[in-house]
Structures are given as C-alpha cells and as structure tokens.
C-alpha cells in the first residue's frame, strides 16, 4: 500500500510537471487556429461599414497590426504572467469575464451530473435485475433515447412542456427577471443559502431545474448503460459467487461487493462527462439562455474575439487536465490493482 502511494505520488508529480507543456501546446494551437480561421475581429467590432482608416486605427489600438510572431511572443509573455489580456470586443479583462461565466457552467454541470446519476443508476440496476423483462426494455429505451435525442430538440421540448404549456418553470435565464441575485461566489444556489434567502434559493433552483434536468437526462444513458454492464460483470465474478456461497444476502452483495467494483470504470466516465461539461454544454446554454462559459465561447468565436477565445480554451483545458488527474488519483486509491 505504501509503495503504491509512493507510485501515485510520483505519477501525480509527473502529470503536474507536464501541465505547462500541455498548456503551451493547447495555447499555441488555439492561437494559430484563430489566426488561420477566416474572419476579422475588426469587422465584428466595426461592422462592414467602417472605412479603411477606422479599421487600421482599431487594428493598431488592439495590437493586431503587429506581426504574428510578435503577437505570439506577447501572448506567451502574458500567459506566463497569468494575464489573459482584455476582450477585444468590450475591453474587459478576460479573466473577469470567465470569472463571471464559470460559476454558471459549474453549477449547471454539477447538478446535471447529479441528475444523470440519479436517473441513470436506478435505470441501470432495474434493467439488470429484470433482464429481458418489461423494466429492462424500458430502461434500454430510455437509455438509448437519451443518446439519440438531439440536445437542442430535447431542450425545446422541455421548454414547450414545462414553460409554455404547463407554465410551471421559466423558459430561460439563471435568475428571476425582477429579482437581484446579489451574488457573493457566483454560485446562486450557494449564495442564497449563505445569505439565508429562501426566495433567491427558490428562484435559482427553478431556473436551474429545466436546463439541468434536460442535460442530466441526456447524460443519464451513459450512466445507466455503463452501470448495467459493469454490474453484470461484477455479478459474474468469483468474489460475488464466493459471497453468495457464504450466505451473504443480496443487498449486502450489491452494496459491498458488486457495486463498488462496478463503480471504478464509472469514475472514469464521470470524469469524462465532467470534463466535457467544464467547457459547457453549448446547445443547452444557448437554448436556455444560460449565461455560462459555452455561451461566452460561442459569442467570442462569432465576434473573433481572439483573447477571449484563447482565455476560455486555456481555463477549460486547465479544468479538464485537473479533473483527469484527480480521477486518476482517485482510481489509484480505490483500486489497489491499478499500478502507476
């Protein structure tokens, strides 16, 4: 155990030491790709009616008149100093824009994963316990539907049912129109709890309900299918047979033998799901007007706001790398068979 801990520690150190290299590759790639991509931030800012002089003035004001390699060197220098620069379109610090949008994405992502687990695990277990019976088919249909439904269509249907027809949930946004979130951390639900403000809590939860449920449902298929497969594999293993022979009851076998072992691959899947949500679920954020990172990224791409796109990609990369590292460490702790 001690040597495994040492190995995990060494592995973590190596992974952490590689982070700057990873980030340099990612940041260079995004820098190059943005410059290769057609379009010009000047057109996005000034529109197509501006004259040549105004364009040149704006170009020099934003530092886009410098040669690409000078722009690249300045960009790297700023990155080393943890400076992501200012947005080209509104001149606000990129880090500030990300700081405002990131809590919305994390809040949505976390609740969606919880809902996905809440839907997916019972479905997966139910399907396995009643193999090739009614519940199994229902579980399969729901699981496959969650993969197959296009996110924008699913989101629009949810809006139609719960907002337009039933009128019980808001159609979009993150907080009631007439309310004021008075944010402390940027996480509205947490803020409302910290301030003991029940109305704000209610407002935040009801605005989060539709987007997180939609995203959670769309992700639930991955959890139900993988739990089912891994649980089935665990039930067929020797240690479950041995436990059954020892007369241990079914509930204990599930909770103490089969389920913990089935969870290890699911950890990895959860990591991937979290990582993919770190960049935001674009279509969900767009449909529900959820002011998260993905929506910012989409707007920044449309406006060719190089600094903001670069900033969001780098921050997202850091989050993804960190989540992956954390998952690797957790797996190593939970599964002694895994050696690094």
């Amino acid at each position: 155990m001690k040597s495994n801990l040492k190995n995990v520690f060494n592995y973590t150190l190596i992974k952490i030491s590689l982070i700057p290299l990873n980030l340099w590759i990612i940041s260079s790639l995004i820098f190059i790709l943005l410059r290769i991509a057609p379009g010009d931030p000047i057109d996005a800012i000034l529109g197509s009616g501006a004259d040549q002089e105004a364009r040149e003035f704006m170009r020099s004001k934003l530092g886009l008149n410098q040669s690409i390699h000078i722009q690249y060197i300045n960009y790297l220098k700023n990155l080393i100093n943890f400076n992501l620069g200012d947005s080209l379109s509104n001149q606000e610090p990129v880090i500030q824009i990300i700081r405002n949008a990131l809590p919305a994405t994390i809040e949505l992502g976390l609740f969606s994963i919880l809902i996905a687990i809440f839907i997916g695990f019972p479905l997966g277990y139910m399907g396995l316990k009643s193999k090739n019976k009614k519940y199994d088919y229902i579980s399969r249909i729901i699981g496959i539907s969650s993969y197959a439904i296009p996110p924008f269509w699913g989101a629009m249907m949810m809006q139609l049912i719960f907002s337009v027809i039933l009128r019980v949930l808001p159609i979009g946004g993150r907080f009631p129109i007439a309310g004021n979130p008075n944010s402390i951390t940027g996480f509205f639900i947490l803020d409302s709890i910290l301030k003991n403000d029940f109305n704000a809590f209610q407002g935040a939860v009801y605005h989060l309900a539709l987007p997180s449920f939609t995203l959670g449902f769309l992700l639930s298929g991955i959890f139900s299918r993988s739990l089912r497969l891994n649980l089935e594999k665990s039930y067929k293993s020797d240690y479950v047979d041995a436990a059954t022979c020892r007369g241990i009851n079914e509930k204990n076998i599930l909770l103490n033998y089969a389920f913990p072992n089935a969870l290890i691959p699911i950890f990895t899947i959860t990591g991937f799901a979290l990582a993919s949500l770190a960049g935001g679920a674009l279509l969900i954020e767009v449909t529900f007007s959820w002011p998260g990172l993905a929506l910012k990224l989409q707007e920044a791409i449309l406006q060719r706001d190089y600094n903001l796109v670069q900033g969001i990609v780098i921050v997202t990369s850091i989050i993804i790398i960190s989540i992956n590292l954390l998952i690797d460490i957790m797996i190593a702790f939970f599964d002694p068979r895994i050696k690094y």
Partner: protein, 529 residues
Amino acid sequence: MNKLKNFRRKISMTCTVIAIFSQYSCTNKINPSQNIIIASSGKIESIDPARVSTLKSYQLLNALGDTLYELNNKGELIPRLADSKPIISEDKLKISIKLKKNILFHDGTPFDSSSMKFTIERFQNIGTLNYILNKKIKSIETPTKELLIINLNNPSSSIEGLLTSINLTPISPTFYKDHFDKFLNNNFIGTGKYKLKRFSNEIQTLSPNKSYWGNKTKNNGINFVGYNNSSSLYGAFISKQVDVLLSNSIEDTLSNSLNLLSQKKDIKENKSAPIEISFISLRTNKIPLNNIDIRLAIAKSLNRELIRNKVSFSLRNSATSLIPLIFKKENSVSWPDFDPKESKRIFKEQGYCNGNIFNLPLTYRSNVPTDKLIAFYWQQSVKAEMKDCFSISLNGVESTTIYKNLSEGIYPSVILDWTGAYSDPEAYLSPLLSCEKFIGNNCLKGESVFSGSFWASEKVEKLFKESENVEGVERLNKLLEIEKIASKSLPYVPIWASSQKAWAQKYISKPVFNGAGIINMSELVRNEK
C-alpha cells in the same frame, strides 16, 4: 405494511414537489414591482454610448438618456436636449446649438454645453463607430453653458442627422471622468426618463427618473431581458413570462404566428417605418458582372413578391430602392422590376441561353436564416422561369467571414443588409456607393470596396460633395440623383426593407416607435389583466 409506508412517502414527496412548483409558479407570475418586462434577443454587452452599436442597446440607451435631437415617426427632426433647431453659418462650417436649461444628470450634476462637448470628444476618442464623426468635426466650442458650437472641417449637411445618434447621448462628465479614454460597460449616468437600477448582460432594470425635466414615465419601471434564440423569446411571450417582445431577430415564421395572434386581437402589434435594407451586392470589377447588361438581366430575374410572400409571409416590404421611404417621402427612384422574359432576352443578347447557361455564384450568410431562404427561393424561381439561360449556385458562409472577405473581392454576388448609422439618406448611400480612389467605374479604395461591389462613378462622387453644401429639398434631390445613377448601374439589387416590430400582451398599451425604429418605453402602460 412497508409497501404502504413507501407509498405514503412517495405520495408526500410528490405533493411537496408540486406544492413548491405551484408556489413558485404563482409568485413568479406576480410581478411585485409591476415593472414592464420587455424581451429582446441576445445580450447587451455594454451600456456605454461610445461603444454600443446594436439596436437593442440603442433601445435601452434611448430610455436612459436623451439625444440633442430625435426623429419622429414622420422623419422630422425634433429637439430634445437642444432648445431649437441647429443654426448653420453661411459658410456651413459652424453649427450653433442652443441647449435647454435646468436639466440634471442622474447623479444630480447639471447638463450643459461642456458636458455635451465632453460626450462628443469622448466618442471621437474611443467610440467604436467614431469614424462616422471624426472627419467631420474640427473643434467644439462652449462660449456659454447653453450654447454649443461645432466647427466642421468641411460643410456637412448630414451633421443634423448625426446629432440624433444615440452614440452621442450626453453623459455626466463628473461620473465619467475616469472613463474618458475607456469604456464603462455596466453603468450609465445620463439625463433620461429612467435611471439604470441594475445591469447584467442578460437583464437590465430601469426605474423612473423622478427629477426628469420632461414628461414623466407612465409605468413604474422596466425590466429588459435578453434570450438567446427566437423560440425562447416566442415561448416567453406566449406563456406571458414577458409583457413586450421586440423583434430585432425573431424568425419570420414566429413573427407570422404573432401577427396572426394580433389579427385575432389576442395581442397588440406595432412596427416602425422600414429602416433596414436587404440587398444583393454584385462584384462589378470583374467579368462577367462588370457587364452592366448582365447585371440588368440579373436584377430583372429577382422575383421580390415571391420572396416576400414565401420567406417573410408578406410581413416585409419589397424594396426597389436603397434609401428607406421615411427619409425621402416618395419613391421617385426605382430599381428594375421582375421581368423574366426581358431578363432572358438580355441573356440571349449577351450570348447566353441555348445550351450556354449563365451561372451566378450567390453567397449568403449561413447564420442568417432569412438570407438562406431568399437565396433558395431566388434559385428556384430562376430554375422555374429561365433554366435554359440562367442558374444560381448557392454558397453559405458565416457572416464574419463574409465581412472580412468582401473587400478582397472573393464573392461575385452576396446577400447583405444595411441599417444607417444615423437617420439620414446619406447614411444609406455613402457606405454603399462612395469611393475615394477609382479608375473609370472600378473602385480601388473606399466604401464600395467594403460593400463588395467595387463600383464607382465620378458623377456620384461629385454629387456627394455637392450634397454637403446644400440643405433641405435641394440636398435630398442630390442624394436621390445618386440613387438614380445607382439604380441604372446596378452595383446592388435591393430585395426588401424591414421594420422593427414589437408585440405587447393585451393588458399592455400598444408600443409606439420613433423614426429610428426605437420604441418609447416610457409610454408603455400596464392595464388590468
């Protein structure tokens, strides 16, 4: 027994959830502040007059501030912060504007000529659209607190129109003293009927300015909210989550559906005068479109009525001119009408037809749904009427890429739209037709390069210059003459002119637009539901 317990537990949980939902849905419908909720598409990134450039931010600024002048819905110049119409010197290089007295900014400081000077100079310094002003203004004088004198580099008759620009909404120099050379995106201190109470990119709350100099607001305040897509906007309006819906980018199918509801009197609808022109830009500096007859044949193949009916459900107006009607009162200039027979005859005359089909590559903005439909219907109409002579191949490109490539002459023809930066016919002609450097009819440097037509005319340039030295009807006639030349030379083919639209719930008064397509928020009243 256990089963019964479980069942009870489930029932009580369900009831709790339903109770919470219903409680919220009820409280949500009650708008305790009784503010009027206006929804529009997209976000407002900035409320700084020097930076704003979108209609929705103009809409908001119009409620928070006053301009020197405003265009009413008849297109007439109405003084707001100015006391009277501007006085122009004989040499037309000096404009004197008398300002109203006893007007206060929201921070309690007085509005005077020095604050107007501060506003204009700040816009010249950092304004995103400062190019519309910079070459025109030489200096600004403030001999007294109530008199503002603008000295021009050259005579400019469009300066009156520019003074209606929301980008020149006066701001408090005291409040903005640290922001003379940088934007202040999330706050605003002006002189308007409303004060900004809360600003986020998605929601803005306005409360009435109780010390406003003019007529007070008729409502308790406004909540201005942005949704990202048409379906959310439509859903929010239909489910009465919002009171007023502005249509700056709602899809035409939804617009049609709302129009039908308004015909049934379920909701109220109003629209502005059409001020946005959609057109096809033809690259005139290269073969085959350098041939004016080919351009004429193309112009005559455009079935505006079909496009208008099929794409906009007849909700937009076919346009046969570049200047919106509100700025010229009568449609004396007209582009060629749809005439497929004549179009075919011209193509034949030019050596096409009978196996030699003229193909026009048409580029449209893939992120603008109506552009795609316009392109598709034109293509199909041409296929039905003149397939042996003329065909259109479509190419969808994202708008920012199109704007970048326009001046490089990549697109033989492209669908674009244009709304003047200020309320004046020149704001529609100059950005499309003026050219600084040209050889014959080919523009090498200038506005028409950036509009993708590369078209120039010595006579047009001369008329632009002449129009700067005259006023009123004489000036309008010069500009109409420019438009007439363009209608014969066909660097552009107008498609339709679009209005801004607003829909209000039955219990809200009908929204009213001014001449710049902005609704007067202060006139909105909530009646009994």
